[in-house]
Amino acid sequence: VTREERDRLLARYRTGYAELTDALGGTTPAEIDWAPGSGEWSVRQIVHHLADADTFAAARLRRILTESDPAIPAYDEQVLAERLAYAVRPIEPALQVVDAVRAATVQVLDRLGEADWQRSGRHSEMGPYSVERWLEFNAAHAYDHAAQIRQVRAAWAARRPG
């Protein structure tokens, strides 16, 4: 990854929360709990997924930076959504998690040396998992789910009469 590409990814990670709040702008209570299809997530569930995923990601980064080739266990995001009551929990604290976890992690990323970027762990499903790979994934993650929220909202608007 070139320096320019890394800076672009850092900017995407840094602005992920703003992208999310932009996608959520003006959401109504009914809209936030509407699932576009059986087994698909509502906007509320997507927000809780992002809060947990960002938290797990931040902890993984810290482990990669402080341990030698740590094991990075995968987790089952569907099981988390079901067992952790994503469908019914208020989203404001989850949004605060996304904002704060990203802000604190940006501080860590901004202070990395070149050797830090080459550190890695071992993901239980994906194999070698470097800091650069971590950034590529997490730079896209909030944007991808913001796009998903916009799609759910568009589908919800389209199904309403008139």
Binding site: A51, D52, T55, F56, A58, A59, R62, R63, L65, T66, E67, P73, Y75, D76, V79, L80, R83, L84, A85, R89, P90, P93, A94, Q96, V97, D99, A100, V101, A103, A104, V106, Q107, V108, R111
Partner: protein, 170 residues
């Protein structure tokens, strides 16, 4: 640890929920020099304590989620002093850490409030301390923020005593 009655559990959850405010109170009016002062070379400054709280409390939130969603969850210990050094606790602004600490507690308290009796007994294995139940996690973290708030107050009292201030008035 012995089993916790439902009443005791409610008290522990209330203490857990009050932990962020306790730290805010302990930091009130702290001066920049005071924030970065270490009582001993290997002891943490108040700033470092706050970054420790952000990281350890988010990790506690992950541990509870693992216990609730995985059978035989493996809970990994970590080296908190290595975190402080390598993650540059000493020179990072602390506002995002305070927000992360608060938000981790708020979302995790949402889970505490809806957990069933069976959920409280779910148990994983901690890499250093062995069997680790959801109940034990609550007992540990109900005390964690208050303990570190007390540490911040001790730092401030010692700093004040060494800088011609009020003395050990904290």
């Amino acid at each position: 640890m012995t089993a916790v009655s439902e009443n005791d559990r409610k008290g522990l959850i209330a203490r857990y929920e009050a932990g962020y405010t306790e730290v805010v109170e302990a930091l009130r009016g702290i001066a920049p020099a005071e924030l970065d002062w270490r009582p001993a070379p290997a002891a943490w400054s108040a700033r470092e304590v706050v970054h420790h709280l952000a990281d350890s409390e988010t990790i506690a939130g992950i541990r509870l989620r693992q216990l609730l969603t995985e059978d035989h969850a493996q809970i990994q210990g970590y080296d908190q002093d290595e975190y402080a050094r390598r993650l540059r606790y000493a020179d990072r602004p602390m506002e995002p850490a305070m927000q992360a600490f608060e938000a981790a507690r708020t979302t995790t308290a949402q889970l505490f409030r809806v957990m069933t009796e069976a959920d409280w007994q779910r148990t994983g294995t901690h890499s250093q301390s062995g069997p680790y139940s959801a109940e034990r996690l609550l007992q540990t973290y109900a005390a964690h923020a208050h303990d570190h708030a007390a540490q911040i107050r001790r730092n401030r009292a010692a700093w004040s005593a060494g800088h011609g201030g009020r003395g050990g008035g904290a």
